[in-house]
Amino acid sequence: MKTMKLVDLAKTIRSKNAGTDRITFDIIFREKAEYDLVRNSGALTKGTVAVLFGIPEDRIVDFVEFDPAYAIKFTINRLRPSGSYGEGDIFGCQQYPPLLDVEIPVE
């Protein structure tokens, strides 16, 4: 099966704090075609994301498709609030890279 990496299909892939206790991930597409392709592919779901980041599904508190922006968005709970001692990413903005290489079946 032919696949493409998410990085080659999406316009924006980012992560960022959503409040002090959560990190939210946005995957935004330039065109509806790519958006539909990815959301219909089954490659990006609550389940696959949980496996990718090695977390239980219940740490993902929201997983939504947002048509106005051609975007897929999900949010995870932090284990401790941002900026607690031992922090690696106060803003939560460098947590998305594993998404770049997600393989999306394209045909």
Binding site: D21, R22, D62, V64, P68, T75, S82, Y85, P98
Partner: protein
Amino acid sequence: MQKESLRIHCSNGHLGFAPTKEESFWIGAETKPDYYCCDSGSDDIGPVPLGADKCASHPEWQKHDLELMLLAARKQGVPMIIGSAGDTGSDSRVDMYVGFIRELAKKHNLPKFKLAYFYSEIDKELVRGRMKAGEEIEGLDGRHSLTFEELDATDRIVAVAGVHPFIKALELGADVIIGGRSSDCAVFAAPAIYEGFPENIAYYCGKVLECASFCAEPYGAKETVIGTITKDDVKVTAMAPFQRCTVASVAGHAMYERTNPYYEYVAGGMMDMTECVYEQYDEKTCRITNPKFVPIEGKIKVKLEGSGKVGERFMGLAGIRDPYTIKNIDKVIQWAKDQVEERFAGTDYKLSYRIFGKNGVMGDLEPVKETKSHELMVIVEGVAPTATAAEEITMIGTRQIFYARLPEVKGTAGTAAFIIDEVAPISAAYEWTLDHTVTVDDPLELFPVTLIEIE
């Protein structure tokens, strides 16, 4: 008479955090907007600034950005509004910004004007009193209701203001408003509501403007955007010559930094963006129609943010290049941890290692399990009740990486490379202790507004 449209200038999504870009600021100012508004704070910066009552931003940048706004607004004779002064919106940060405005007015010999400011810090004894009286302080984002232990562990609390104190300040005739901690969007929604525009339009306008050029493309922060509202629509226009507000950039921004792209809660109600319609209005402008605002039923809920000190903190750095040591890095760290435990067992200390080159950025979320880097940087963080203990813990925890005992290591002169052979004192460790809400009878009760004259 009510204006048919209102134009709000926003030059920076977090005033002072990095300096405002001046070219687009003045392009926007030349169009003579009705208000100059900026939010200047965030809980993004972690719990240290609020807990320790200091800024994350440099005072010279804060003054730079305030100076631009003050000069433009005073020249035109229109109001300027700042929310969440000095990153945290604590009382001392509000006083500091009022001082900056006074200083700038003097520097430029500005004719006298009225300044309103409001505080938003709240005494934790007030919260304790409410809890003792049986009120539940509800947690947000999955947090449970506040406990007395969590309250005890808190050093400073700010309440997050909605539009109410800003509107009050405008009613008092303020030319400049310096706000304590506030919802970002309230800084923009308040003047719109004060001028008689509908709440749904006012709040959406705030939502889209709050991060300035983050709603434009291509990516480029600290550039000015202008929001134009009528009773029916919001239009947002990029001022920087290289940027545009597009359907994609504006819709994409609507979901930024929030768990859910459709809803946002503020003191007084909820924005519902489910049925928003986005269209390209002109080359640099996106038009949005049909946002909704649902006022809260019953008492208004105000968000509380609290930060509490965990302990004094030091940081150490150790580089590693030997491939055998890299392969055994977990054993090395365990050795160093054991040496600390041997000396400090039974005391209240915390020791953290972040290993860059392995999983320093992502920690438990890192899917790459195999370390392929030819070198590692280990960041050691030691926290203890006293600075003396924190320093020693961090020093043992760092230096013992150098003395790690690995059976087959070739480099027997030291298993770590030091950039500095010392550990550095850094800000005390704090933790977000409150992300909760409290109910109020009067939305102004936590945010007293004071009007003064600056001359």
